[in-house]
């Protein structure tokens, strides 16, 4: 069984025929070749596949491509400015060494951006609770929390706080 879906992904409108069982994450990775969105589990626990659907973070393994028909999707590839300037959250992750192997990172950054959208000045506890759905095995979360703090400030118009040296 196949269906036709039309989505706006990272600013570009795409129309594709998909098997109805195709998950949004497979649509992004296998059909649009946007491989920045990763698959880390098969039970919607790890959050590596988090993208924004109509501005809200969604684990793209929990959504069928046909459910996303008509939606606007932003993936990690679409987060930076067109000129390549990193989104403040991306820049904060780099500044604060909030990533190591990089595999959970796209999902972590997308979740963090939505977390700050919903709560512009999160506390450490709120960040930790807000990122509970994203598993990182490398960083121990310490620097991710610092990065999200700094990223939130920068998203609110502040300057990006440097990592302590």
């Amino acid at each position: 069984m196949a269906s036709t879906v039309t989505l706006t992904v990272n600013g570009t409108t795409v129309t594709r025929e998909v098997e109805e069982r195709t998950l949004l994450v497979h649509f992004l990775r296998d059909i649009l070749h946007l491989t920045g969105t990763h698959i880390g589990c098969d039970t919607s626990q790890c959050g590596a596949c988090t993208v924004h659907v109509d501005g809200r973070s969604v684990k793209s393994c929990t959504m069928l491509a046909v459910q996303a028909d008509g939606s606007t999707v932003t993936t990690i590839e679409g987060l930076a400015a067109p000129d390549g300037t990193l989104h403040p959250m991306q820049a904060a992750f780099r500044e604060h060494h909030g990533l190591q192997c990089g595999f959970c990172t796209p999902g972590m950054v997308m979740s963090a951006v939505d977390l700050v959208r919903a709560n512009p000045t999160p506390s450490e506890t709120e960040i930790r609770e807000g990122l509970e759905g994203n598993i990182c095995r490398c960083t121990g979360y310490h620097n991710i929390v610092k990065a999200v703090m700094a990223g939130a400030e920068a998203m609110n118009g502040g300057t990006l706080k440097a990592a302590a040296e």
């Binding site: 098997e19 069982r21 990775r29 070749h33 946007l34 491989t35 920045g36 969105t37 990763h38 698959i39 880390g40 589990c41 098969d42 039970t43 626990q45 790890c46 590596a48 993936t75 990690i76 590839e77 987060l79 930076a80 990193l86 991306q90 992750f93 780099r94 500044e95 060494h97 990533l99 190591q100 192997c101 990089g102 595999f103 959970c104 990172t105 796209p106 950054v109 450490e124 506890t125 960040i127 930790r128 609770e129 990122l131 509970e132 994203n134 598993i135 990182c136 095995r137 490398c138 960083t139 121990g140 979360y141 310490h142 620097n143 991710i144 929390v145 610092k146 990592a163 040296e165």
Partner: protein
């Protein structure tokens, strides 16, 4: 002026640019033209004879191109996956080494053992077809645990392995240890389980096999920490492909923690199948497959005793450990509970006599091998728990007992009774630094304050030492290692002065592309932007052993220094020629070559240009070019060490343990990039906390089914489970035998943390008369322990 991106600078990572923008290239991100997809059909039984496999329906399923079974591989002469370390029994006979075929042949030995492989046009078609394969199994009783395996009446996992014992090994002086116990005033004992863990790198394993009939070349792209090791093992031992016809690429790899060191059956399957199918074959594990088939970690049962004199001086340590190997021997499995475990049982203490016995057993569970720390966390946990029990028994402060028994820094280098020679270490200094950081003096007041709120507060210490950069090759070889343990590097200056560095080491999160570039920028005074670090492709890099055991900088970085030394030696000669000076008059500083006592000088860039455009060049003395390669074989392990302190608060009504503070003071020798080092410590600590409080891999004792086969069942530490950390380090005891003075930082966090956490939990529960709690100290377990001991308290 010092290079702003040189040694010691917290350079922001260069690899992050691609990872943060979704431009990483992990194996599953790579697609080859005309590729097919493999699905591994795995045994649903822990132990069963394979009577027959009917693939007829699967073969005619839509999109299916091939279905392979163990018989197909046998017909092609595919061999067993090799084990990389031969252990000898106490009586000198070799360990049992039953075959481990990529696809099981007559019997499946764990849930997840591959029994057939479907290759189809799509992942979904392969998976659909696999459901149509009919395997007729004759189930056998499952041997699901160490205890079951060693029960004298147990079913045999391998018919030719009596008693399921792989080996029965020992280390140390039994007579001297027994004598120490005979004159002991006090003996502390412990029985403990080191819980089985699933490594859980966030990127599931994946592999793509390709074959080019035009030149007979095979390519395997795989999620590996060490592509040359895979090439050697798979090419020479399993598939019989000569190395010049086999390229192994490990592109961006999403974490390893040991689990991606090993040569797995799926790698051989896709490489072999690509030639059979005549098209690329890709396989990516689902997380459920990762749980079933990635090599697991830990899984020890131990009994240990510590003999002390009347003053608490350690006299002897006796350890008996049973270790689970799983159903087959994974690549380095046999070395973990032996040379990476028992050799660390001296810890930081001057215990004069140690005797350790290790029995390794086969079970119907996934293979067990190195997981972050690999033997050393098990050793640290055992010693540091035992020392706390000893302190409790003697009524001594746990820090005082540790201090009393520390090997003093003046005694370095120090030969332990378990065969290691520690080169440096200042254990008292670690503790001296850490205690004020946690306000140890104020702990009693904090404990009272918690008690006033009905909570139980505890503090726990782990003063760990570990061994990194396993070496030297000749000694390891004498102990049974079947590979070398050196590392390689090539420093290739280009004509206009930029540099490509090729390392046999591999980064899967550790930040080599930054740290290694810092070494080159620092040495030659060039901008870090002019240096690229290339790794992970056997077609590009010199033969190297990859990354595990915190070896990258200590071994791979040392190889890089050696290659830079060679570059500098040649550059010196070229500089002398260019400036018409004697070579002995050339001085080198920050990449500038000057003639002593003059203002004449050239840069390394000038020299590189002269080397590649040798118009004015000593051609009768030197070859053109500036491109040097080196191999470095370490003289000894390095010995990172430190003091980890954890403070917890337990709610006795719920059994929930909250970590209030975790502080780590470490000695990693010289630190190249403190930002990266601290990140390694943070991540390591959480893996240790995970083992101590959350993670546990459980097989059903009756059926051998994996009960913790997903993130719904296996509790991974999440952001809201852990606190932020306080970490510090000192550089006062650099490694004495490698050129950088570095020790390694990748595993230390994990090695120290679990013991510190459990010591804190036991300390919190000490009023209940509790001396030990097995990991993970889940709320349920803590609650049960509290309630089991409550009557005793009430009676007092």
């Amino acid at each position: 002026m010092a290079n702003p991106n040189g040694i010691g600078a917290p350079v922001r990572r260069r690899e992050d640019a691609r990872f943060l923008t979704g431009r990483g290239s992990y194996t599953d991100d790579i697609n080859r033209p005309n590729q097919t997809f493999a699905y591994m059909l795995r045994s649903p039984h822990a132990h069963a004879d394979i009577i027959s496999i009917d693939t007829a329906d699967a073969l005619v399923s839509p999109g299916v191109r091939h279905v392979f079974t163990g018989a197909d591989m046998a017909a092609d002469g595919v061999n067993s996956l090799p084990c990389g370390w031969l252990i000898h029994n106490k009586d000198g006979t070799p360990m049992k080494e039953p075959p481990h075929y990529p696809i099981a042949r007559d019997r499946a030995r764990y849930v997840g053992d591959i029994v057939a492989v479907v290759v189809a046009e799509s992942r979904e078609q392969a998976k659909d077809a696999a459901e149509l394969i009919v395997v007729d199994y004759a189930e056998r009783p499952a041997v699901a645990s160490i205890r079951a395996a060693l029960d004298g009446t147990a079913e045999l996992v391998h018919d030719d392995v009596p008693g399921n014992v792989c080996y029965d090994w020992h280390l140390g002086d039994k007579a001297a240890t027994d004598a120490a116990f005979a004159r002991a005033a006090h003996v502390a004992t412990i029985d403990l389980v080191n819980n089985r863990l699933v490594p859980n790198a966030m990127e599931p394993r994946a592999a793509i096999g390709e074959y080019d009939p035009a030149n007979g070349e095979h390519t395997l792209t795989t999620t590996s920490q060490n592509p040359h090791v895979i090439r050697l093992l798979m090419g020479a031992f399993v598939l019989g492909i000569p190395e010049h016809k086999l390229r192994v690429v490990a592109p961006d790899v999403g974490g390893g923690f040991g689990s991606k060191i090993f040569h797995y059956g799926e790698e051989a399957i896709v490489t072999w199948a690509a030639k059979k199918v005549g098209r690329p074959v890709k396989w990516t594990a689902e997380r459920g497959e990762s749980f079933l088939s990635d090599a697991h970690g830990r899984d020890h049962i131990s009994h240990a005793e510590l003999a002390m004199d009347a003053d608490g001086n350690f006299l002897g340590l006796r350890v008996k450990t049973d270790a689970n190997m799983g159903a087959y021997l994974s690549t380095f499995s046999t070395s973990i509970p032996t040379y990476l475990y028992a050799t660390l049982l001296a810890g930081q203490y001057k215990t004069p006599a140690i005797y350790a016995e290790v029995t390794a057993v086969f079970t119907n569970t996934a293979p067990v091998d190195a997981y972050r720390g690999a033997g050393r966390p098990e050793a640290c946990f055992l010693i540091e728990r035992l020392v706390d029990i000893a302190a409790q028994k003697l009524g001594m402060d746990p820090t005082a007992l540790r201090r009393r028994n520390f090997i003093p820094k003046e005694a370095m280098p120090y030969l332990t009774p378990v065969a290691l020679q520690y080169d440096t270490g200042d254990f008292a200094k670690n503790l001296d630094m850490a205690l004020p950081m946690v306000d140890y003096a104020g702990f009693a007041a904090r404990r009272a304050e918690s008690a006033a709120r009905g909570k139980l507060r505890g503090i726990g210490f782990a003063t760990y030492i570990e061994a990194c950069g396993i070496a030297p090759s000749n000694i390891a070889g004498a102990l049974g290692a079947r590979a070398g343990l050196y590392e390689s590097a090539e420093v290739r200056f280009h004509p206009t002065g930029s540099v490509s560095v090729f390392t046999g080491s591999h980064s899967h999160g550790q930040g080599h592309e930054t740290t290694f570039a810092q070494l080159v920028a620092d040495r030659f005074g060039i901008p870090i932007e002019n240096v690229d670090i290339i790794h992970g492709d056997t077609a590009k890099i010199p033969f190297g052993m990859g990354t595990y055991g915190s070896r990258s900088l200590a071994v791979g970085g040392s190889a890089l220094v050696k290659a830079m030394d060679k570059v500098e030696r040649k550059a010196r000669k070229i500089a002398a020629h260019l400036m018409e000076a004697a070579e002995t008059d050339i001085e080198v500083k920050d990449g500038r070559f000057t003639v002593a006592g003059t203002d004449k000088g050239v840069t390394i860039g000038d020299i590189a240009l002269a080397a590649y455009v040798p118009h004015n060049f000593p051609l009768d003395e030197l070859e053109p070019g500036l491109d040097e390669q080196a191999f470095y074989d370490p003289k000894n392990f390095t010995y990172p060490n430190g003091c980890h302190i954890c403070e917890v608060e337990i709610d006795p009504d719920t059994g929930v343990t909250k970590i209030l503070n975790f502080t780590a003071v470490d000695d990693f020798g010289r630190v190249i990039n403190p930002l990266i080092v601290e990140g390694q410590v943070h991540g390591g600590i959480v893996q240790g906390i995970g083992q101590a409080l959350y993670e546990n891999c459980v097989y059903d004792e009756e059926t051998g089914q994996l009960l913790t086969g997903s993130y719904m069942d296996y509790c991974m530490p999440r952001a809201d489970d852990v606190p932020s950390f306080t970490v510090a380090y000192h550089e006062d005891a650099p490694c004495t035998h490698n050129p950088l003075g570095v020790k390694g930082c990748g595993e230390a966090g994990t090695i120290g943390a679990a013991a510190a956490v459990i010591n804190a939990v036991v300390n919190a529960l000490s009023d209940y008369g509790i001396t030990h709690i097995d990991m993970p100290a889940t709320p349920e377990k803590v609650w049960r322990v509290i309630h089991a001991h409550k009557p005793a308290m009430a009676a007092e």
